[in-house]
């Protein structure tokens, strides 16, 4: 990136070209107050807070007040932040903004981390001169996630621009005019966007705040915080949970340039409340009877010792360390993945493909893509933040037009005006309908079984020499336009869901390889996975679920260790009960109450993500460390510790039981070549800064209530933390930590989330020292490395006989929908992933539970009409997993011949893949 020199108050500063003066100042830690500018929203020029004096040419001594955010940082431009006129004007702006802002900071949830507070102090406005009344508004009920207090509004338009332009929401609006602008909904009601929670950080003051935080509120300065990773899907968004007194109070996004930037989806933000769920197993139990830790270990060891053959079945919620401990306990061949078959096969296909072709895509690749094909995936339901990334990519199309007209990118209003017709080459392949359909240049509808063929058709069109319509029988004119625009992409990305199965993922990988050749540029492949450590499972070479079930059915296996997985949800209650009846022992380790707990011989209560430290590998193969923020009761311990202590008793393996998670990270790295580098995901326990640990608690600048005082008003000494670089106190180094350990977004004078810019290379850009985590599948000369590792993932061939085989290079399977006509009574049941409800743990968070819709079967109205069904009628199918009864819901956007059911609901346990079925009772 070319650099230019700008001069602030006589001092030269080097900044990237194309930035504005506000960004230039923030890049260098210079204080210019601002409100409406935001790194993702860019400049508006509305709040007028970032006024500076700008001088024209070398001889200008008078200068002119200009908004820093609207002034390009051109080479040699001279500006003054300290100019008295500019200082006076900025102070006036704050005074105007404070005219109507209530003086309710002491009872405001934003107090203590309020950008408006910080900016007011910064500009030096201290005395109130306005003598009139303040305008007030009635607050709205915006649902369980976001609180609304519009009387505090300073009209910066950030909420609206975020909600509509970035998140694609429609139901937040600005109403009224003049000094009675009202930002809210037309009427009370839940904010529809699944990204509404981000308003809490986007809003510079307390209009939009985290409602769940407010229900168990403490001030920011009382929060103990550490870096964490969201467990809500496979994207691995970085989070910053804050706890006090053993309870998580809220989760904020932690900036990661390649993943989530400043955002989280509402599933990821609000699932933390499940940590406090009273249904969680907190003591070991066997047959409902509580056991001490030692007794539980003895009992479990005894149970396993009585089995002929024990295997482990682990879910993608388990940390790499817990998986490694299980793998050691049951042996490498005894580790099985609790993944639906299609997901496992799709994931294996995606990983196998990386050895010769497309690298795995990050969300940053998606955001910068100038050509996107989404195949058989529902980004919104499967990895919600991916929808946001796609929206950002689509939004990026406008810069091409802005460049042509010479409008700087930061001029957001100008760019949006100029580029209204901008269309982004986004093509969606799938049965639809999806939230991203509206963004797409085109949608090619196809039922799941038809997607490989549809993808190959696109491949042929894309790589055909000459006109796109070289095969006129295949493509229409509208399709041609799409293909032509996709061909122009220079940063293409292909996106596919692992759940769409191996054949579709293979086809997507073929497409990515071919597109890379056409574009003469890498074309990364994004393979969506449902859980935060599914890649950890795959890279540890966990075997497919079907194989495990086959071994149990055959009576070969009679002992099962179920690690953070729900057998009932996976295979359905009937099948789970049947399997359990064949087992002598079912040892369940879980942090959460699952539907499988009642089947267990013994339940060992595991620490959840907030109660332990470990490593997760996200969809792009990025190993990331999450840290313990809450100390669980002594009866709860990390799954890896249970497993290692259990192994100590059963005598399996040769290594002595690990006493720290880090030993297991190392063990994983040594066991599997593809996991090389995972130890380096973050600095280890011995990391010190200036010889000190990093404090979980912030510096006690303002006093803190004496909640933990013992008798004699003495504070108990903080417990040691031998596993991480963090202390359980405020003692430690206050210097900025390395990015993987960034545990607090705070800087002197900047108490709000906007302090983030102080930790970034450039305001809004990557963290200083680069974005954290280690991409384990990115190695120079990777094909060779793969060849040299006989254990590489592609060796793990899907073992299920049920695998829909696609002959290599041959004709893909017949579209399932195409054959449905042979039996008019048959419906193709299709799974759908929902933001709220499909992920099992988040369902248990009260705020999320409130918005989880009841399970329904969605049908096209014509389809329902043909079957004499109306909305609300119950329809029943006899399936292999048992009877499925759901009320009918009508959706005119669906194709006929299909019924869509929600994945992950208790009613739909065991149902993960498309299936044909005939409603019972139909003639």
């Amino acid at each position: 990136m070319a650099k230019v020199t700008v001069i602030f108050d006589g001092q030269p500063y080097l900044v990237s070209s194309g930035r504005n003066l506000l960004e230039a100042a923030l890049d260098h830690g210079l204080d210019i107050p601002y409100f409406c500018w935001h790194p993702r929203l860019r400049s508006l020029g509305g709040c007028r807070q970032c006024a500076v004096k700008v001088f024209q040419g070398p001889d200008d001594t008078v200068g002119r007040i200009q908004m820093a955010c609207m002034t390009e940082a051109r080479e040699g431009i001279r500006a003054s932040i300290d100019d008295p006129d500019a200082v006076r004007f900025r102070r006036a702006v704050i005074e105007w903004l404070m005219i109507n802002h209530p003086h309710d900071c002491p009872v405001c949830d934003e107090g203590g981390e309020c950008h408006l507070q910080d900016m007011t102090v910064l500009t030096g406005h201290v005395t109130r001169r306005y003598g009139g009344k303040k305008r007030t508004f009635e607050s709205q009920d915006l649902g369980p996630f976001v609180s609304h207090e519009p009387s505090r509004c300073i009209h910066c338009y950030r909420c609206l621009r975020y909600y509509r332009d970035v998140a694609g929401g429609r139901d937040l609006q600005v109403l009224g005019s003049r000094n009675r602008l009202f930002f809210g909904r037309f009427a009370s009601g839940r904010l529809e966007s699944p990204f509404a929670g981000n308003l809490a950080e986007v809003c510079p003051t307390g209009v939009f705040t985290d409602k769940t935080y407010g229900q168990h509120y403490v001030r920011k300065w009382d929060l103990e915080t550490v870096p964490s990773i969201c467990p809500g899907c496979g994207l691995g968004c970085n989070t910053l949970p804050g706890a006090r007194q053993g309870r998580i109070r809220r989760v904020q996004p932690r900036f990661h340039g390649a993943i989530n930037q400043e955002f989280l989806c509402d599933r990821g933000r609000y699932l933390y409340e499940a940590e406090a769920s009273p249904t969680r197993p907190r003591v070991a139990t066997a047959g409902g009877q509580p056991l001490t830790t030692a007794a539980a270990l003895d009992h479990a060891a005894g149970l396993l010792a009585g089995c002929r053959q024990v295997i482990g079945l682990a879910g993608g919620r388990a940390s790499l360390e817990a998986l490694t401990a299980l793998r050691t306990l049951v042996g490498p061949a005894g580790l099985y993945a609790a993944l639906p078959d299609a997901v496992h096969q799709g994931l294996a296909a995606g990983l196998a493909a990386t050895h010769e072709g497309p690298p795995l895509a990050s969300l940053e690749d998606v955001r910068h893509a100038d050509g996107l094909v989404v195949i058989g995936a529902d980004p919104t339901g499967e990895g919600p933040l991916l929808e946001l990334a796609i929206r950002q990519a689509v939004d990026g199309a406008r810069f091409t037009i802005a460049d042509r007209l010479g409008i700087p990118h930061f001029n957001d209003v100008g760019v949006r005006e100029a580029a209204r017709g901008a269309r982004h080459p986004l093509l969606v392949l799938g049965p639809g309908p999806l939230a991203i359909d509206a963004l797409a240049l085109a949608t090619w509808r196809g039922l799941p079984a038809a997607l490989p063929a549809l993808t190959d058709r696109l491949l042929r069109a894309l790589t055909a020499t000459g006109a796109a319509s070289s095969s006129p029988a295949e493509t229409t004119t509208a399709d041609e336009e799409v293909v032509l625009s996709l061909r122009q992409a220079r940063r293409p990305v292909v996106l596919v869901s692992a759940a769409s199965g191996a054949a579709t993922v293979d086809a997507a990988a073929r497409l990515a390889r071919a597109w890379a050749r056409t574009a003469d540029a890498p074309c990364p492949l994004l393979v969506l996975v449902p859980a935060p450590d599914d890649l950890g499972l795959a890279l540890l070479q966990a075997q497919p679920l079907a194989a495990a079930l086959a071994r149990i059915d055959a009576g070969e296996v009679d002992g099962l260790v179920l690690l953070e997985a729900d057998l009932v949800a996976l295979v359905g209650e009937r099948r789970a009960t049947e399997l359990t009846s064949r087992l002598k022992a079912l040892v369940v380790l879980d942090a959460h109450a699952t539907t499988s707990l009642p089947l267990a011989s013994i339940v060992l209560p595991a620490a959840s993500w907030s109660e332990q430290t470990g490593t997760l590998i996200n969809h792009e193969g990025r190993a990331q460390r999450f840290f313990q923020v809450v100390r669980p009761p002594a009866t709860v311990q990390p799954a890896w510790r249970w497993l290692e202590e259990l192994r100590g008793r059963t005598g399996a393996g040769t290594e002595p039981p690990a006493t720290s998670f880090a030993e297991l990270t190392r063990r994983a790295e040594q066991a599997v070549p593809d996991l090389r580098g995972v130890v380096a995901a973050a600095p280890g326990a011995d990391y010190r800064q200036q010889g000190l640990k990093l404090p979980r608690q912030p510096w006690r600048a303002t006093g803190r209530a004496a909640l933990n005082l013992g008798p004699g008003l003495q504070e108990a000494p903080p417990p040691p933390d031998p596993e991480t670089p963090y202390s359980w106190s405020m003692e430690g180094s206050e210097a900025p930590p390395p990015p993987a350990l960034l545990h607090r977004i705070w800087a002197p004078g900047l108490n709000s989330y906007q302090a983030l810019s102080r930790f970034q290379e450039e305001a809004g850009g990557s963290l200083r020292g680069d974005d954290p985590g280690v991409r384990v599948l990115d190695r120079p000369g990777k094909p060779d490395a793969a060849a040299a590792s006989p254990n590489a993932v592609h060796a793990v061939a899907p073992a299920t006989p049920a695998s829909p085989a696609t002959p290599a290079g041959g004709t893909p399977a017949t579209p399932a929908g195409g054959t449905a006509a042979s039996d008019h009574r048959r419906l193709l049941l299709l799974p759908r992933w929902h933001v709220f409800g499909s992920e099992p743990v988040s369902r248990q968070a009260p705020a999320i539970a409130e918005v989880v819709a009841p399970a329904r079967l969605a049908l096209h109205p014509a389809e329902a009409g043909r079957r004499g069904l109306a909305a609300g009628d119950l329809v029943t199918f006899a399936l292999a997993t048992g009877p499925l009864t759901l009320p009918v819901e009508l959706d005119p956007q669906l194709p006929e011949g299909v019924g869509v059911f929600p994945v992950g609901w208790p009613e739909t346990a065991g149902l993960w893949e498309p299936a044909h079925a005939v409603p019972e009772g139909e003639p």
Binding site: Q49, V93, L97, N100
Partner: protein, 425 residues
């Protein structure tokens, strides 16, 4: 009688001229010429040479504005000519006067401008309260369409110019060029960032040129009589005639076309017949609400763009609001401040928050509830609000207020001394 560009054939009683009457006096011949004989470049040059400056208030040279329109690049979509008929400037009614009497003049003017700017679609953005104008324009548009002047064969050519009448939902900010574009599209009437300028990215993202009614009304005469003739109409450096008007306690408040550059004294004491019995001239806002006050010492300043600009003033719309000695200047300023505070779109801080505060301070002084230091605070606020806002709205709003504060400082002092308005008991 001096030569006229706008109102030569106007009926004395102000009833509208029909298409037949309009064409009888040579109407639409210039539109035909513009579409059939002259090239766009020739038209732009001709209007540039005439010295015509925008009559909406800012006085930007019309030909120059047109020359910024990019040539058609073959991209799909319309090119728009938009007539700013919002006319919400306080005290201003010149455009209404002009079009109520001669609606076809505007249509022909728009045809000429559209030919010059190569626009295929036009909108008349009409102030919502102008019911009579709406009625007369609707009829005139139907007549012009029937006669084939507008529509598929504009000016008898083989190119189209479709002209639509759009009724404003009614905010002062809708008269701001970019706020108007947003309002026309059915969005909030917030101003837009410049760049991009409307000629590049205007209505619906397409090249658009926005002209005032009176500006457009001058075009047929300029084409008919030539640019030199038009230049000669002005009394001073500025070309043409101007629709001047006055309101307030003058004897004959009305609108009249006069040579550009007459003095305020001529306007008030000759054209308007002087002050009403028992009333004394105190000051005037020469061009609507957003101009600075002229006191008695300004009576002999020529009311044209250049002379007023040189004196740090502006002509605005040329429709004077005359203040007499029966008016409380503090209350007048309060009234103006109330208008601007109410009409602010709320987009940027100084305008949205500053103007209501100013209104409150003025109200306090008028009603006797002012606190010590309020006058200084008022002065400070007016200095801070004006120059640093997103659009020109607040800059216009502080013109009468800041100059009024200076001009009427004795009245303010008297209010503060008495703790009430001296005109009230």
């Amino acid at each position: 009688m001096a030569e006229l560009a706008l109102t030569r054939h106007r009926h004395p009683d102000g009833t509208p001229r029909s298409l037949a009457e309009y064409t009888r006096t040579g109407g639409y011949l210039q539109a035909r010429r513009a579409w059939q004989q002259l090239t766009p470049a020739e038209l732009v040059q001709l209007v540039s040479r005439s010295g015509l400056r925008g009559r909406g208030g800012a006085g930007f040279p019309t030909g120059k504005k047109w020359s910024f329109m990019p040539p058609p690049d073959g991209s799909p979509g319309h090119r728009y000519l938009i007539c700013n008929f919002d006319e919400m400037e306080p005290g201003t009614y010149k455009d209404r006067f002009l079009v109520e009497g001669d609606p076809h003049l505007l249509i022909e003017g728009m045809l000429i401008a559209a030919a010059a700017c190569q626009c295929d679609t036009g909108y008349i953005f009409l102030r919502g309260e102008y019911g009579v104008v709406r009625e007369r324009l609707t009829r005139a548009l139907a007549e012009a369409e029937q006669a084939g002047w507008i529509g598929a064969h504009a000016g008898g050519s083989d190119r189209p110019f479709r002209l639509h009448l759009h009724l404003s939902a009614g905010r002062y900010i809708c008269g701001e060029e970019t706020g108007l574009l947003n309002a026309l599209e059915g969005r909030r009437a917030n101003p837009r960032a410049k760049p991009p300028f409307p000629v590049q990215v205007g209505a619906w993202g397409r090249p658009s040129v926005v002209n005032n009614v009176e500006t457009l009304g001058n075009l047929p005469a300029i084409l008919r009589e030539g640019p030199d003739w038009y230049r000669g109409l002005g009394r001073g450096a500025d070309a043409g005639t101007k629709l001047y008007a006055a309101s307030g306690r003058v004897r004959r408040p009305h609108c009249a076309e006069l040579p550009l550059g007459i003095t305020l004294r001529e306007l008030v004491f000759e054209e308007m017949g002087g002050m009403q019995e028992g009333r004394r001239f105190v000051a005037a806002l020469p061009g609507g609400g957003s101009t600075r006050f002229l006191g008695e010492d300004g009576l002999d300043l020529p009311l044209d763009f250049g002379s007023l600009q040189a004196a740090g003033l502006s002509l605005g719309t040329g429709t004077a609001i005359v203040v007499d000695d029966g008016v409380c200047p503090v209350d007048l300023l309060r009234n103006l401040a109330q208008f601007y505070a109410r009409e602010s779109c709320g987009w940027c801080t100084p305008c949205r928050e500053g103007l209501p505060w100013v209104e409150g301070l003025l109200r306090g002084i008028e009603e006797g509830t002012a606190r010590p230091g309020d006058l200084e605070l008022l002065e400070e606020q007016l200095g801070l609000i004006g120059p640093n806002t997103f659009c020109a709205f607040a800059l216009g709003a502080v013109q009468p207020l800041a100059s009024g504060l200076q001009l009427f400082h004795q009245d303010f002092a008297e209010h503060l001394r008495l703790g009430r308005c001296p005109r009230r008991r």
